[in-house]
């Protein structure tokens, strides 16, 4: 029973520490800060992973300017670690915190698994939207194409009519040349004078 109480307390302390770190470096810089603590030997890789996992599961996300903390802030982190290790640390010391630097990001986060689904859903919606847009575009192009086809057939009809007129005109010119030939021959004949002996 005592173990369970301690586990709950540890969870709460972990949450508090995580919140402390997130409020100062943000989710974006948290992995670097934890790497730094790992390098210093303050925490293990397991703790680091757990903290990152925990941070990802939070609804709220923080965006911080840098992973760096002041000496005082590092000292508070050390106190949290010591408290997690079961050492007696004054709560007041932990609550006397330096000012927060990270800003709360307005996007609400869902649980990682649901996030993937959501992102897939969004992506799917985006793709569907894109497909829909393409379909609309294709439909528009088809309508445009039909219009163009109608225009082309009208132009073809006009072209045929013009060709027909051109042929008619050519025939007319040809015939006119014939009539003129006959006329000229007959005018020449009219002008001819002959005398019977």
């Amino acid at each position: 029973m005592q173990t369970e109480i301690w586990e709950d307390t540890k969870e709460k302390i972990l949450d508090q520490w995580l919140k402390f770190m997130l409020e100062r470096v943000g989710n974006n810089n948290l992995p670097i800060l934890l790497d730094h603590y790992e390098d210093l030997g303050w925490i293990s890789m397991n703790v680091s992973d757990k903290l990152i996992e925990l941070a990802e599961s939070h609804q709220q996300r923080y965006v911080g300017p840098s992973w760096t903390l002041s000496a005082e802030e590092h000292r508070v982190s050390m106190l949290f670690i010591e408290k997690l290790q079961g050492k007696p640390v004054e709560i007041s010391v932990l609550s006397a915190l330096a000012p927060k630097k990270a800003k709360l990001q307005q996007i609400e986060r869902v649980a990682p698994r649901e996030g993937y689904i959501e992102s897939h859903r969004l992506e799917k919606e985006d793709l569907e939207f894109a497909v829909q847009r393409r379909e609309v575009t294709i439909r528009n192009l088809e309508v445009e194409l039909e219009k163009k086809d109608v225009e082309i057939s009208k132009l073809k009809e006009i072209m045929q009519e013009l060709e027909f007129q051109l042929n008619e005109t050519r025939d007319e010119v040809k015939n006119h040349r014939i009539y003129r030939g006959i006329l000229e021959e007959n005018i020449t004949l009219k002008k001819v004078e002959f005398y019977r002996k």
């Binding site: 005109t169 014939i178 009539y179 003129r180 006959i182 006329l183 001819v192 019977r196």
Partner: protein, 345 residues
């Protein structure tokens, strides 16, 4: 569009009649824009004496009627070998002929009359001038045009076509290529219907001693039986020999007589093809049309095609209306002629 300048709708009140005339050696055909047609033999007869005049009760007889009473008449055939003779009596006879055929189609009424008269393809300037002057008094406007060209115009074959018009006096060949034909496009030969008649008579006289055959008889037999090439049935006619009538075969003589015009036709076609634009020679040789009375000779297209094989082949067709082809073509030409052209003439 093509008819906007034509005299197809005369002004109200003014009656216009267009006329096409084929003044042929044997037949004179007339065709009018009112749809009337007539064709008669180109023969005019005047009574020999007062007795004949009293008996016939006419001063002039024309066509078949003149031939029927030829014993009592002085006969005039004003057209010889396709050309109007330049003698006053022949010109008067031709005038009578024109007046007669014109009257037969109501052309003597008070109308404006515009006519085109078909003349042989290579008729001389003098010949055409005589025809024109002779016909001038009957029409408000008159022109002459090449007879085979008139046929081509009627056919609507005005490009890459050869018309072979086998008439009574002349066989006219005309190459039509979209313009009015010039002298190089036309060939005329005297080997035509009358030549066949003369040959037929000569061959019969050679074959049968003492046979008495006139050109008139030969012409009738020719019109009934003419052929070239091969036929299945013998042609038997009643030939006067001395004072008897004998039924004799004239098949060989008629065949030879009819075939006597073929060499000149082939030679003419060959010349017209060989002097034509090379690109269109094949089209030209595929568009050969026979017109005139001679086109009715049986097997003629096939035999001509057979002869043409020796010079690269050819397609020969027959113009369906041998009697009125020339007159109808002249009429069509007269109707299509722009109005201002008639006023000019």
């Amino acid at each position: 569009m093509a008819s906007k300048n034509k005299v197809k709708n005369p002004a109200p009140g003014s009656k216009v009649m267009f006329i096409g005339v084929d003044l042929g050696t044997n037949h004179t055909a007339i065709s009018t824009s009112e749809g009337k047609k007539n064709s008669i033999f180109s023969v005019v007869g005047t009574p020999k004496d007062a007795v004949a005049s009293k008996f016939l009760k006419k001063e002039h007889l024309f066509g078949e009627e003149a031939l029927t009473h030829r014993v009592a008449l002085n006969l005039y055939k004003p057209i010889e070998d396709g050309v109007l003779k330049n003698q006053p009596e022949d010109i008067e006879a031709a005038k009578g002929l024109i007046e007669h055929v014109l009257k037969s189609v109501d052309g003597d009424k008070d109308k404006q009359k515009y006519a085109i008269i078909g003349v042989p393809a290579r008729a001389s300037v003098l010949s055409k001038k005589i025809v024109m002057d002779m016909a001038d008094e009957f029409f408000d406007g008159v022109m002459v045009a090449s007879e085979p060209f008139c046929v081509a115009y009627k056919l609507g074959k005005l490009e890459h076509t050869i018309i072979v018009d086998i008439g009574g006096g002349t066989t006219d060949l005309c190459r039509v290529h979209g313009t009015f034909p010039v002298s190089d496009d036309q060939i005329s030969t005297n080997k035509a219907g009358n030549y066949i008649d003369r040959e037929f008579v000569r061959l019969l006289q050679d074959s049968y001693t003492d046979v008495r055959v006139t050109l008139e008889m030969a012409r009738k037999w020719k019109e009934q039986h003419s052929f070239v090439g091969k036929i299945d049935k013998e042609i038997i006619v009643e030939l006067p020999v001395n004072s008897s009538i004998l039924k004799l075969s004239v098949t060989k003589e008629l065949k030879h007589a009819c075939e006597s015009i073929i060499p000149d036709i082939i030679s003419g076609i060959s010349k017209l093809i060989s002097t034509y634009e090379p690109d269109f020679q094949d089209t030209l040789r595929s568009n050969i049309y026979l017109a005139g009375g001679g086109s009715q000779i049986r097997n003629l297209p096939a035999v001509l095609e057979m002869h043409l094989e020796l010079i690269g082949g050819g397609k020969v067709s027959i113009f369906k209306d041998p009697v009125y082809g020339g007159a109808d073509g002249a009429l069509k030409l007269a109707m299509d002629m722009p109005r201002e052209f008639w006023q000019t003439i």
